[in-house]
């Protein structure tokens, strides 16, 4: 995008060389500002990670230096693993997020297919029904939700979190996926039907076509589930079912004066997510861009 108008501006510029200076100043200013914001966005977390590998004295004496052979120390990580169950927290978070995500995607694509493909009485009403969940935060239903989960004997289990996250994640997934489903060409489906495929088979056949949309929905759905503090706190606060976010929060409350342990706990909860983000960031941001334009 934009190359055409740039070419035009380029032509104007060659005619009037004086503009070049102004152009250069703007360019420098622009990058200055972007670098400043990129630093502001990343430096706090980077400082935490760097200092988590240092001995206590070095953390305070020269916080801006990378750890050296002299200052390198893993004592913070040792405390975290000795005094808390971070490996359990990781397992819990992974278990909850992956199962919830798989079911959000499965149920979400099924609904999206039905909404986009068939006109049946109540189609529009059903769309509104799902839209409601985007506007109203599920947390406002917590009083009743706690009772419901209790009556189902799910309190203090990971399944409590899983069902709530599926319910909370579905509206957005349905909203995005329905729009993509509507764009799948009809000939494809009709061709399959002429060949005698059942409606389930037709659904199965077009799944690969909407895979990019599913990827975007997956990337965007997983973040709030992994990061949630409210429902682990309300529905499953016990040590055995703590997720990374709740576990880290509780740990940091207890060890608020042990800087090595604090920095290590923060790094342990943010580094895995950041690694996955940096690997998949291009797809995530492109998906976000494409999704925004569609809506």
């Amino acid at each position: 995008m934009g190359w055409k108008s740039d070419a035009n501006k380029q032509q104007l510029r060659t005619l009037t060389p004086a503009i070049d200076w102004r152009h250069l100043t703007t360019k420098i200013l622009k990058h200055w500002m972007l670098i400043a914001f990129a630093l502001l966005s990343t430096a706090p977390v980077a400082l935490v990670i760097i200092n988590s590998f240092k001995a206590r004295r070095a953390i305070f004496r020269n916080p801006y230096h990378l750890p050296t052979a002299e200052t390198f120390d893993l004592v913070g990580y040792e405390t975290v693993f000795a005094k808390s169950q971070f490996q359990v927290y990781y397992f819990n978070s992974l278990f909850v997020t992956l199962i919830a995500l798989a079911l959000i995607l499965l149920f979400g694509t099924m609904v999206a297919f039905a909404l986009a493909e068939y006109s049946f009485p109540g189609n529009n009403l059903l769309r509104l029904f799902f839209l409601l969940g985007i506007i109203i935060p599920i947390r406002l239903g917590s009083v009743s939700l706690l009772r419901l989960i209790d009556s189902l004997d799910l309190i203090g289990t990971l399944w409590a979190l899983i069902v709530v996250y599926i319910a909370g994640g579905l509206p957005f997934a349905v909203f995005i996926l329905t729009q993509f489903m509507a764009q799948v060409p009809g000939e494809l489906k009709d061709a399959a039907r002429v060949d005698g495929a059942s409606e389930y088979r037709v659904f199965w056949l077009i799944l690969p076509i909407i895979r990019p949309a599913t990827g975007t929905v997956a990337a965007i759905s997983i973040i709030p589930m992994w990061n949630d503090l409210w429902f682990p706190l309300v529905l499953a606060p016990g040590e055995a079912t703590r997720t990374v976010t709740l576990g880290a929060q509780q740990f940091m409350g207890q060890f608020s004066n042990d800087w090595n342990a604090l920095l290590a706990a923060l790094s342990l909860s943010s580094v895995p997510v950041l690694i996955i983000y940096f690997i998949s960031s291009k797809q995530l941001l492109q998906g976000l861009t494409a999704g925004a334009i569609k809506n």
Partner: protein, 315 residues
Amino acid sequence: MTAGLSRRNQPNPNKPFPTHIMVFLAPAVFVYGLFMIYPLFDSLRLGFFAQVTRGVEQFVGFDNYITLMTDDAILQPRLLNALKNSFLFFAVNMLVQNPIALMLAAVLSTKTRGGLLYRVLIFSPAILSLAIAGFVWRLVLSPLWGIVYDMLKALGLGAYAQPWLGLESTALITLALISAWQFLGIPMMLYYATLISIPNDLFEAAYVDGATDWQVFWRIKLPLLMPMIGIISLLTYIGNFNAFDVIFALKGADAGPNYASDTMMTFFYRTFFGSGFQKADPHMGAAVAGTMFVILMAGVLIYFFIRRRVNSYEF
């Protein structure tokens, strides 16, 4: 066509509802209906009940709401304080995050070397949990570590350094700024996406006529961005009115100092589960949630009202 009811066919009201459509819809409707829609409405219902004796609930009409708004001892002052703080939290996000996001998006949507890298870096805090990001800032702002103090000194502003998170006058604004910092990337990406989707021919002519980038932005791009500004304002409202994680993680359920950082959601949590100074009362909690529901809906309605009034441009 075999299994019928493609979207080009008209539905036939006499036919029974096709099984395959039921199969596609049932799991999602069941889980979402049971664990989201039902609790939302049942919570509203519980707001009109109270516990009379152990295990016995009684319908009390608007009593909970009336107590909430008139009890001078605890509830009413806490409610008004939490309401004020929730709006302030939203206002800080709206006035700081939104313009900065728009400015960054405007810059990034012009041809920029390393544009993707900038976007990836500026978006990165948004994937962390608010509780974790909040704690990172607590350390960075700590006078003990002195990172922010060093920065201010380097800029010649050392005199302004204060333990912002701990002071009654600045705690809430600091928490709101942390949240604005963290999610800056989301509105930035949404604005960016809108800006790069504007067809070039819309402003090419302006450039040929000698318009500057600045003029093109204000006269052509900004009006086209208005619908997106509206959507983002609504998202900011919904997202920040429920601010909880960062406040609970850094300040606990009592949202100190002296309730200075108490928002509707921390107030809801305390009313529901109780705290040192407040008895746990699920029914009163449901009434607080009901109040929040009404305020949220009012915001959404205002958005749709304004949207209908303002012309939106199609391109």
